[in-house]
Symmetry: C2
Subunit: 188 residues, 2 copies
């Protein structure tokens, strides 16, 4: 079985490597528009499916295309990637001192099958001072990250008090669930 991982994220690449899977990487642009009236689980799942449907090549036997999308959900709306320092500060101020949800949608596609699902983890963050938040933004530049933070960097170390659910889901892939689904595909 050969995985084709459609993701630029070094975190996702590292996670797939940790599953000991034989994989290659493809990247291509897909617009990330979504229907804001959907449930957050569906927003993430449908974005993963959309990425799978835009795969520019044809799959052959034994290949599994893996696409994913991670969203951060708080107060009934999605936090995207921040456009600048100001947006990053607003997002982090919203997240600190509260619990938010992270949804990662995943699509696994073979030559004759497609499955998609989404997994939710709750993340509880402490209050950080404005000074600490600016320290984080200026030193870690979290502009490529949904919700403007990385669970695996300084923010995750200092502000994340607890998570409820899969940790790696917050990093960008629910690896334990993916491992299970891939075993089912292999057995078939």
């Amino acid at each position: 079985m050969k995985i084709i991982l459609a993701s630029k994220s070094p975190r996702r690449q590292e996670l797939i490597k940790g599953l000991e899977l034989n994989f290659s990487i493809v990247t291509y642009e897909v617009d990330e528009d979504f229907d804001a009236s959907d449930l957050p689980s569906d927003i993430a799942r449908k974005l993963a499916v959309k990425k799978a449907h835009h795969f520019p090549n044809t799959l052959i036997d034994d290949e599994v295309l893996l696409t994913a999308d991670t969203i951060v959900w708080i107060n009934g709306k999605v936090l995207n990637k921040p456009a600048n320092e100001q947006e990053s500060f607003e997002m982090l101020s919203t997240i600190c001192g509260a619990t938010h949800q992270v949804f990662t949608g995943v699509c696994l596609k073979t030559i004759d099958k497609e499955i998609s699902f989404s997994e939710m983890s709750s993340v509880t963050c402490k209050k950080l001072s404005d000074e600490e938040i600016y320290h984080y933004i200026r030193n870690y530049k979290p502009f490529d990250k949904a919700g403007s933070y990385g669970i695996q960097d300084w923010f995750g170390y200092t502000a994340v008090e607890k998570i409820d659910g899969c940790f790696y889901n917050v990093m960008g892939l629910p690896v334990s669930r993916i491992y299970e689904e891939l075993k089912k595909i292999k057995k078939k």
Copy 2:
């Protein structure tokens, strides 16, 4: 503030580095005997305190000694580090398909103060086949790990379904809590 981390664990060293703390490492031997009739939170905390009390040097101003001990708790008892492949297999068979607790005890000691606490995270693991467990033991040799697994390696990726609590606590240090306590020490 300068941290003296009394730990051989590369995982703990990595976590303290991620907090951006100025630190050095000391290692010395302390027996890890404990009173099995204690609560698990106390077993971990007292082991950390014992390590702090065996620190062979004298602390000076601005130095904080950090000692820690992580235990795995399931079915009312502690799982230590496995002595061999057979013990490792037994531990992992117990852990798979169940929820266990990880307690990390921490002691922070300065020239005139000592605080100690312990933090608990619950970890829920899926069933793995005997073949998968042996694959893990033979390839990852988890003999230096309490409970015989690493949350940050193949076992954590495939078997750990969810955690409830601090992820980094399971890796060996509740970093967010430590960051908070160090800020209090600094303010004093």
